[in-house]
Each structure stands twice: as structure tokens, then as C-alpha cells.
């Protein structure tokens, strides 16, 4: 992926990011409704729904990375730094909570929240590093 300039990179980012998020919401809301409405038993179907809900997020993460590679160097630095810092924060949290669970200091809990946690820390760090420039 080569640098194509800030404006075009931003256009390409939003062109794929928002539809991906819309698909994600439809799958999450629709899937949850479907699961509650009908008692779905086959494991493969539940697994399929889980994978289907994850796919738009994989695309969103790839779009974020593509934007960082394609935008101008100043915005690329903000994006790369915030992705690296949020990655380190979330990996540290995973290690800490994982060990606390391993030594029975914490009850088992869902790992689902690490994904949104990464997105949230990435957003916050982008704001801290770039201020209004990250928008």
C-alpha cells in the first residue's frame, strides 16, 4: 500500500468503514434477535453467527491499517502511534487479567470486551496525540 494523500485516503477509509460498521450492527442486532426468538441448537450455526459478526470487524481493522499506510506522513504517524500504544495497553491488560484468572484471583469473564477496548483506547490515544488533527 503506497501513500496516496490525506484526502483520498480519508475518502477510501470512510467509504468502507461506515458500511462495514452498518453491516456489523445489522448482524449483531439481527443475530441476537434471532437467537432470542428461536432457540438455535446447532453449534455450527452459533459459530457461524459469531464468525459473521467478527468479519466486519476484521475489515474495519484492516481499513484502519490501510488508512495509516495510505494517508500523509503526519496522519500516518498519529495512526501508527495510537495503534501501537493501544495494542500495548490491551496486550498488557490481557496478560494481567489472564494471570489473575490463572491464579484464581479473578472469576472467568468474557474476552469480548478486549476488541471494543482496543477501538476505544485507539480513539482516545489518537485524540491525545493528534488533537483535532486526527479527525
Amino acid at each position: 500500500m503506497a501513500e496516496i494523500g490525506y484526502r483520498q485516503a480519508k475518502r477510501r477509509y470512510f467509504r468502507l468503514f461506515w458500511p462495514t460498521m452498518a453491516i456489523y450492527l445489522v448482524i449483531i442486532i439481527g443475530g441476537k434477535f434471532w437467537l432470542n426468538q428461536y432457540e438455535i441448537e446447532p453449534l455450527w450455526l452459533k459459530a457461524g453467527m459469531g464468525i459473521a459478526a467478527s468479519l466486519p470487524l476484521f475489515v474495519a481493522l484492516w481499513v484502519m491499517l490501510r488508512y495509516a499506510f495510505e494517508t500523509d506522513e503526519y496522519h500516518a504517524r498519529i495512526q501508527m502511534e495510537s495503534m501501537a500504544i493501544s495494542g500495548v495497553i490491551m496486550a498488557s491488560a490481557v496478560f494481567l487479567l489472564g494471570f489473575l484468572q490463572l491464579f484464581d484471583a479473578l472469576p472467568e469473564f468474557s474476552v469480548f470486551w478486549f476488541g471494543p477496548g482496543f477501538m476505544m483506547t485507539h480513539g482516545i490515544i489518537s485524540l491525545i496525540r493528534g488533537g483535532r488533527d486526527c479527525l
Partner: protein, 72 residues
């Protein structure tokens, strides 16, 4: 890194957006360079120098070199 980019741009009567378009970067990037918030890469520094027909050293001040000279 200190620089005289804002001054050079003002002399030409260009807005940050105009210069940004000429350099192929965002207006925010030009602002970040002017305010010293961001040091450009060597290719971007060369592009800036080319636009103003100056050398990189004319536009950007090597603060370490200045400090070393002052210490001598």
C-alpha cells in the same frame, strides 16, 4: 525543530491549504510543521525547500547544531 515555514508562506501570500495542496499533504500537516509539533521526513523537507527555492538548512534550524555552536 524550529523553522521559518510560516514566514516564507506568508511572503508568498499562500494559505496553509494552498501549500498543503502543492506538497500533497493535509492542511493539518502544514500547520503541525509550522508550529513545530511535527518534524517532516527528509523527502517532505526537500519538497518544501524546492517550493521555496531554498536549502533545507535555510528553512529548518538544527537546534542541536545551534546548541553545540553556542557551547563552543
Amino acid at each position: 525543530m524550529k523553522n521559518i515555514l510560516r514566514q516564507l508562506r506568508a511572503e508568498q501570500g499562500w494559505s496553509q491549504a494552498t501549500l498543503a495542496d502543492m506538497l500533497g499533504v493535509s492542511r493539518q500537516s502544514v500547520n503541525a510543521i509550522e508550529t513545530g509539533k511535527y518534524d517532516p521526513s527528509l523527502p517532505l523537507a526537500f519538497a518544501i525547500a524546492r517550493i521555496f527555492n531554498r536549502s533545507i538548512e535555510d528553512i529548518f534550524e538544527d537546534e542541536t547544531a545551534t546548541e553545540l555552536k553556542a557551547a563552543e
